[in-house]
């Protein structure tokens, strides 16, 4: 995945005398070239947010149990199944057959699912049927007036 910022830096550090291609001619030639990284094209939000397309899924959040993490009712969640569900991370987990989004926490030997809303109690996982579904990496919250 090309990171525009890092390319700008390395260009400054290693100035290779190379004719910069015209944006138009690079495209017309129809041949991808290393110079593509010097071209400023439309910024790809999808690529920014989805690091592993095969393992990334979208979900819709309901309720406000994770409001402290900026997750509101109706927000779009980006869930990456390739990441490890480490304690401290916000994860989607299938609990007794229902999908829920909570923070994974470890207290000593015990594992809990905690909300970031004081109105919700932590859920101990002992003796419960829980399958980690993926790690939430981003949340997209649309403000009122977002849709024209």
């Amino acid at each position: 995945m090309t990171n525009t910022a890092s390319w700008v830096c390395s260009a400054a550090l290693n100035p290779i005398p190379q004719p910069l291609p015209m944006f138009a001619s690079a495209v017309r030639a129809g041949f991808p070239s290393p110079a593509d990284d010097y071209i400023d094209a439309e910024m790809d939000l999808h690529g920014y947010v989805v690091k592993r397309p095969a393992a990334t899924f979208f979900a819709r959040s309901e309720g406000d149990s994770m409001i402290g993490d900026g997750i509101h009712h109706g927000d779009l969640l980006v869930v990456d199944r390739s990441l490890e569900p480490l304690p401290g991370r916000v994860i989607v987990v299938a609990l007794d057959g229902e999908l829920t989004v909570k923070r994974l926490e470890r207290v000593g030997q015990r594992t809990y699912l905690t909300a970031s809303n004081p109105a919700y109690q932590p859920i101990p996982l002992e003796g419960r049927e829980a399958h980690v579904w993926g790690v939430v990496t981003h949340v997209l919250h649309s403000l009122p007036g977002a849709t024209p």
């Binding site: 495209v27 095969a54 819709r60 969640l77 199944r81 390739s82 989607v92």
Partner: protein, 399 residues
């Protein structure tokens, strides 16, 4: 739990519990005894979801090797030429774990020197008590393990041996895959064809079959080709897909089937790592089961519009027809091609009369007995699970 075919007609997939109840593959939904029907959840096929999950699994496979050949919606051949053979089994384990973690899909992995043997290895990985816990099975051409498996396998279970061919082989005294392997290839070629001869060589561990030669799985029809030279042009891709869809339509009509989902895929050349890589596929669900090439072409072009991206040098494109069912199962309408000239004349006269009446007495006076749109005429998918991964409105909800 069972999954229904297009238009919710027949059961095309069964959970183990459903199998245990004695429900046969292909049972028509309305013929299920009420006592069983009550215990069962029947779901409609969800090709949008299958297609998307299939794409994800293939993407994971591509992380392990550039040589991925998609065979069907749920099977691929992955080439590991040049990899250290001692590492293959461990790679297979990692592949299986990665696919399961990233996509949730459990897969079995079979390794072997040839495609025919790989299919057997995969089957052993799924079912054989020695392999199924691991889910990975590696067979070499001449090992005792391979021999044992071949000796236990009926010849009809060998990839490429159809039932009728199997029966003829049995008449010749060839009952097991091992006996076929031990048969004289020339002898087999004389009595059958070069295709069966190649299977003998493959059973012996000598590659002889390219994926294009092999008979397609019954449930799908695939037409694809690599381009002679790489192309950036959407026009070239459209033309190629038009031809592939037309050819697929021919095959479909030849076997008297109809389809209700068209998968389109495109890819760059994985063996040119100097070029940007892109591969994608999409499933276009059809409004109603069809064998009309025009509709297939239209769907293929629609699909291409979704997945074509600028800036890539495409190497291969293809069309796969999914969810096939016998044409005879679907109601004939007045608009179907009539069988004889007498029928054709009658149909024309009837249509002319209908048109005349509609003109004189007002549009819609006579309708052709076709139910309203959104009713029986459009694909019935009453019990389909949501399209979790392809529709914004159908995303899974998490509390």
């Amino acid at each position: 739990m069972g999954v229904l075919s297009n238009n919710d007609g027949c059961i095309v997939a069964r959970s183990n519990e459903l199998k245990a109840l004695g429900v046969e593959m292909g049972t028509a939904k309305h013929l299920l005894p009420p006592s069983i029907r009550r215990q069962v959840t029947l779901l409609s096929s969800n090709y949008a979801l299958y297609g998307d999950m299939s794409r994800r699994v293939t993407d994971v496979l591509a992380e392990f090797s550039p040589d991925v050949e998609v065979y069907s919606i749920d099977e691929s051949f992955v080439g590991f030429q040049g990899f250290d053979p001692a590492t293959l089994e461990a790679r297979g384990q990692r592949l299986r774990q990665t696919v399961k973690q990233w996509t949730g899909i459990p897969v079995s992995v079979g390794f072997a020197p040839t495609r025919v043997l790989t299919k057997l290895a995969n089957h052993a990985a799924k079912k054989h008590p020695g392999y199924r816990d691991q889910g990975v099975c590696l067979l070499t051409a001449d090992s005792p393990a391979t021999q044992a498996i071949l000796k236990q396998l009926p010849v009809t279970e060998v990839w490429g041996i159809a039932r009728r061919t199997g029966e003829r082989l049995r008449v010749m005294g060839i009952d097991t895959a091992w006996q076929l392997r031990e048969a004289d290839p020339k002898h087999i070629r004389r009595h059958f064809s070069v295709v069966q001869e190649r299977i003998v060589w493959e059973l012996r561990g000598q590659p002889a079959i390219q994926l294009d030669d092999m008979s397609q799985p019954k449930q799908q029809i695939m037409v694809s080709r690599s381009f002679g030279r790489l192309t950036h042009s959407p026009h070239d891709l459209r033309e190629a897909l038009r031809q592939h869809a037309a050819r697929a339509g021919e095959k479909l009509r030849k076997q008297h089937s109809v389809t209700s989902a068209v998968m389109v895929f495109v890819r760059t050349n994985a063996f040119r790592p100097d070029l940007p890589q892109y591969r994608n596929r999409v499933v276009v669900a059809l409004e109603r089961p069809t064998d009309d090439s025009r509709e297939l072409i239209h769907a293929a072009i629609q699909g291409l519009r979704q997945i074509w991206r600028k800036g890539y040098a495409y190497h291969k494109a293809g069309v796969m027809l999914l969810d096939l069912s016998p044409k005879a199962n679907h109601q004939l309408t007045l608009t179907d091609t009539p069988q004889t000239e007498a029928d054709a004349t009658r149909s024309e006269r009837l249509m002319a009369t209908v048109d005349k009446l509609n003109r004189e007495l007002g549009r819609g006076t006579i309708q052709l007995g076709l139910p309203r749109t959104g009713n029986a005429w459009t694909l019935r998918s009453e019990h389909r699970t949501p399209r979790y991964t392809t529709r914004w409105e159908e995303l899974p909800a998490v509390r």
